[in-house]
């Protein structure tokens, strides 16, 4: 169930419909995580906190490309009609996030590298903010913790790591595959400022992002989300990590639920 209490909330359904159409028309996409991260991306791109012509955004979890492409199209980085070409030969919209797409700074797909890349941006461009989106499953990669050490050493107050914590990964729940317990406790130990927020509440997300922009220490925002958010039968169902050739009935049922 989607909640509506912010002027941007109409985008929650609009962009979920775009996302669903894109994945249905193109025949594939990582729908579960894209739906869990979408409201975070809306808060980043449709608020005025950051100016991404100067500030940086790194999608470390490159498989969430569908969500970012949908949001970038909604901000007119490229025409919305391109979305249906996702993963087609010769399309700029590669399966995993690609810097060939206007508005995308970093090509990714192999997990765990983006936070380091964002830390490099934060160090090299200290007058701007580098925002990175990672996932909870991705925190099983050791490199994330190397980056956490590094950001603390260099006191990268202009680095924000938003973790989309939906509790699932490709083969099951993160607790079953590799439990990490409290990410907050770990980041605090690593010297970061940590805030936990409802990752589907745009007002709260915007408030936390504003606070994180002014900080002396690297910032970790733990965004609690729901895999497949907004489409009841996809929620918390890891079989919807990614889909191939979505059945028309399933597509129509999903579309039916996405009303503002």
């Amino acid at each position: 169930m989607l909640n509506f209490n912010h002027p941007l909330d109409h985008l929650k359904t609009e962009l979920r419909r775009d996302l669903l159409n894109m994945i249905y028309q193109s025949g594939s996409g990582h729908i579960g995580g894209s739906l869990s991260s979408l409201d975070i991306l809306i808060s980043l791109y449709h608020s005025d906190i950051f100016d991404f012509t100067k500030d940086h955004f790194v999608l470390s979890a490159g498989h969430l490309a569908c969500a970012l492409y949908t949001v970038l199209a909604s901000k007119n980085y490229f025409p919305k009609k391109l979305l249906s070409t996702y993963t087609s030969f010769d399309s700029i919209l590669q399966g995993h996030i690609s810097a060939s797409v206007p508005g995308v700074e970093y090509s990714s797909g192999s997990l765990g590298q983006g936070l380091s890349f964002a830390a490099g941006l934060a160090l090299g461009d200290p007058k701007t903010t580098a925002v990175c989106l990672t996932t909870d499953g991705e925190h099983q990669e050791g490199q994330i913790w190397e980056a956490a050490m590094f950001a603390n050493k260099y006191k990268l107050g202009n680095l924000i790591n938003i973790i989309d914590v939906n509790g699932f990964q490709i083969d099951g729940s993160t607790d079953q595959i590799m439990p990490l317990k409290s990410l907050a406790a770990k980041y605090i130990q690593f010297g970061w400022t940590v805030t936990t927020v409802d990752g589907h509440d745009i007002s709260k997300l915007i408030k936390v992002l504003k606070q994180s922009k002014k900080s002396d220490y690297p910032n970790c925002i733990i965004a609690k989300t729901t895999l497949g958010k907004g489409i009841s039968f996809m929620e918390n169902n890891f079989k919807y990590h990614d889909v191939k050739n979505l059945d028309e009935k399933v597509y129509l049922a999903a579309k039916d639920e996405l009303q503002y």
């Binding site: 810097a99 700074e105 970093y106 090509s107 990714s108 797909g109 192999s110 765990g112 590298q113 983006g114 380091s116 890349f117 964002a118 830390a119 490099g120 941006l121 934060a122 160090l123 090299g124 461009d125 580098a130 050791g142 490199q143 190397e146 980056a147 050490m149 590094f150 260099y154």
Partner: protein, 320 residues
């Protein structure tokens, strides 16, 4: 001439790198070094002291360091990512592949202690696979300098390019083969010695073994002359110079302190098979084995069939 003995001509390739970077940084405020706790081994201590804000110490964490370097490069810096080859690019290859090569960023990966030449440190540190893993990456250029002079030239040229590159360095001090006035061009091989009978190609200081063999031949078989070609630009590789030489000699030996699989010899062999030339060919390289410790790396060169004895046998076989 035994290249392991301390002659006044021997100079350290990695020291040449460290000193060159230090000099370049004085006139290039955009030049950064990303280190993984090996600054003294790569002679970067002066750089770190003089340019603390451009010396980024990542500690023993090669994956993070490679992507930090990529991020810095994205903000317009020229970044040298410095470690031993057995750690970087060996540990962080997947990060180099995605964050540096696929994103096509201005990072130069500098891997020292390549080859059996690393000696006493043993198999873990004798990186024998770096050219294979780096030359297979799209957007990546690969260089293996032969001496301290060429190291200085290549480092200088790389500091001006905007592309990803890998620079292979060795641990030992080695003989100086080049005059200080030499000029290096990316994608060009250099004929170090002209000859008519056998073409010897290779990269790095192991080519000194070919010079030693040539001087032995002068005494024993003065009628055989070797054409020795330095292929320090491994990717892009100058096939034209090699083809011109084998057209003349009809015989080719590739000598390298690297695994046979994925080494220079295989790259050249593949091009030759597709060409109209069909020279006799012998590839002297480490063949599907790990190295081991030795006080004098020549013991390893002999044992792994890439030393002077093996080269002499190869010459006899290919000539006879």
């Amino acid at each position: 001439m035994n290249s392991n003995t301390k002659s006044s001509e021997n100079q350290s390739i990695r020291q040449s790198f460290g000193e060159t970077i230090f000099k370049l940084a004085q006139n290039n405020p955009n030049l950064y070094v990303v280190s993984m706790d090996l600054k003294s081994s790569l002679y970067l201590t002066d750089f770190a002291r003089k340019f603390p804000h451009r010396f980024v110490e990542c500690g023993i964490a090669e994956n993070n360091a490679a992507a930090i370097a990529a991020g810095l490069a994205k903000t317009g810096k020229t970044v040298f990512l410095c470690s031993f080859a057995c750690f970087s690019p060996a540990i962080n290859w997947a990060v180099i592949r995605q964050s540096i090569c696929y994103n096509n960023l201005n990072v130069k990966i500098v891997g020292s202690h390549a080859g059996l030449m690393t000696g006493d440190l043993g198999a873990t540190h004798q990186m024998l696979e770096d050219i294979a893993i780096m030359s297979s990456l799209s957007n990546m250029e690969v260089f293996s300098p032969i001496d301290a002079v060429e190291t200085q030239k290549i480092t200088t040229i790389l500091s001006r390019s905007r592309r990803p590159a890998y620079l292979r360095l060795v641990r030992q001090s080695t003989p100086i083969l080049y005059d200080k006035k030499m000029s290096f061009t990316i994608g060009k091989s250099q004929i170090l010695k002209k000859g008519k009978d056998i073409t010897i190609i290779g990269h790095g200081p192991i080519l000194n073994e070919a010079f030693e063999v040539q001087s032995q031949l002068l005494l024993q078989k003065p009628n055989i002359s070797l054409e020795i070609i330095n292929c320090s630009s491994i990717k892009p590789l100058d096939f034209e110079t090699i083809f011109k030489s084998i057209k003349k000699t009809g015989r080719l030996i590739c000598l390298e302190d690297h695994q046979k699989n994925g080494g220079l010899g295989q790259m050249v062999a593949s091009q030759i098979l597709a060409s109209k030339f069909h020279p006799k060919f012998i590839h002297l390289a480490v063949d599907n084995q790990f190295g081991q410790s030795a006080k004098d790396y020549h013991q390893l060169y002999d044992n792994y069939n890439i030393g002077t004895k093996s080269l002499v046998s190869a010459i006899k076989k290919i000539y006879g």
